[in-house]
């Protein structure tokens, strides 16, 4: 059984602000899609935190203390947010990152 990560989250991580801002600001989402590095430069991310975002390494982000709910939203911001398409890809890629297994394995 997976241990709850909720009580070990780290509210001080800058990645939380990145996700909140991307949700709330369509222009920032466009900039993120066009120039991800440029958007990441705007946030005081720790080195390992930024590297994990760039590598789509959600396990590393969660181990650092990223809140899983915002992790799920970051996956949708990266891979897609529509119910029947991109969101399913996002969920599958997120779960694969966390478990080391692709869906169906």
């Amino acid at each position: 059984m997976t241990t709850s990560r909720l009580k070990s989250y780290d509210p001080s991580l800058a990645v939380h602000d990145l996700v909140q801002d991307l949700k709330w600001d369509p222009d920032l989402r466009e900039a993120f899609a066009r120039d991800e590095a440029g958007v990441l430069d705007r946030y005081p991310l720790q080195g390992a935190e930024r590297l994990a975002i760039e590598r789509r390494d959600f396990k590393a982000l969660y181990d650092m203390g990223m809140h899983p709910y915002l992790g799920g939203q970051l996956s949708r911001l990266i891979w897609g947010n529509d119910a029947g398409g991109g969101a399913i890809l996002a969920v599958n890629n997120l779960v694969a990152s966390l478990t080391g297994k692709r869906q169906g394995e």
Binding site: M1, T2, S4, R5, L6, K7, Y9, P11, S12, H16, D17, Q20, K23, W24, P26, R29, H67, P68, Y69, L70, G71, G72, Q73, S75, R76, N81, D82, A83, G84, G86, A87, I88, V91, L94, V95, L98, T99, Q103
Partner: protein, 294 residues
């Protein structure tokens, strides 16, 4: 003296809307019948206002400054918020708010020792309000809605005993502070078992869900308070199942009463179990509510 005339708990799983057409007929039937019952029974209860305690999923506040309860005071509520539209796949809606009831709620709960916050402007709604409003067509009823967004996700969160106390304070407020004769419908929006953003995103705990729905309908609030713990819900899906604390607020407001479920549905792509309960209210008094210690 106001009166609670309707109370229900209902999940708001977003994928249920966008992927509804792809779900098996038996799953669609449970979802359809539950929301149709919600709509019909609210209409029959003739409330003057619907107060919805719904989970906030980090949609309105920074994680560093997160309110446990946030009242929407706007004259009108619109949704879903732009980013959540493709995610949910529901239609746009606008539903009247009730600034007077929201202000009374804010003032009265603070005076009863419940720390709430209030937003006079527009709140950003995701599935929390959007799913019950659109699936239950609540916006067609012409009844104002007051949303109370509840922290079920950023620890430390209000757990079952605190949520029950909040519900008891809400009932006392409805009875003593609202306008004489005001009829109030209450909805708890959240759950069942799911793990949004987690490694068990696709895991649904059917055993837990059926146990919970039976417990919620039993009216045995002693057991609710003893057994519906943070730890038990986290074991059934981290960060998602605990949304059921919104149902506990409503249970605290109604006091012990039996409820009816409209079946249980499980569909992997929904990434959450589905089942609703409508409680059969009986005349409540403060004395009867206090029989269950929070």
């Amino acid at each position: 003296m106001g009166e609670i005339v309707f109370a229900a708990g209902i999940p708001h799983l977003p994928a249920m809307v966008g992927l509804y057409d792809r779900a098996p007929p038996d799953v669609q039937a449970v979802v359809h019948n539950s929301f149709e019952s919600l709509h019909a029974e609210i209409k029959a209860a003739r409330p003057d206002v619907i107060i919805v305690f719904a989970n906030d999923h980090l949609a309105n506040s920074r994680i560093r400054s997160y309110p446990d309860f946030l009242i929407g005071m706007a004259e009108e509520h619109r949704g879903p918020h732009e980013w959540f539209k493709p995610w949910i796949g529901c239609r746009d809606y606008a539903i009247k708010g009730d600034r007077n009831v929201a202000a009374t709620l804010f003032r009265g709960m603070i005076r009863r020792g419940i720390r709430l916050f209030a937003e006079p402007g527009a709140l950003k709604f995701d599935d929390n309000i959007s799913v019950p409003v659109t699936m239950g067509n609540l916006d067609s009823l012409g009844i104002p809605l007051v949303p109370v967004l509840q922290n079920c996700i950023v620890p430390p969160i209000p757990e079952q005993h605190r949520c029950y106390e909040v519900g008891q304070a809400l009932a006392d407020l409805i009875e003593k502070d609202l306008a004489p004769g005001m009829r109030v419908a209450l909805i708890g929006s959240g759950g069942l078992s799911h793990e949004p953003g987690g490694s068990r995103y696709y895991v649904i705990d059917e055993t837990f869900d059926r146990w919970f729905l039976d417990l919620a309908a039993s009216g045995d609030h002693d057991r609710v308070l003893k057994e519906l713990t943070f730890e038990r819900m986290e074991a059934s899906g981290s960060g998602g199942t605990i949304e059921l604390f919104s149902w506990v607020v409503i249970m605290g407001a109604t006091g012990p009463c039996k409820g009816r479920s409209f079946g249980y549905a499980i569909h992997r792509d929904f990434r959450c179990g589905f089942g609703a309960v409508i409680w059969d209210l009986k005349p409540q008094t403060a004395q009867a509510r206090e029989q269950v210690p929070a």
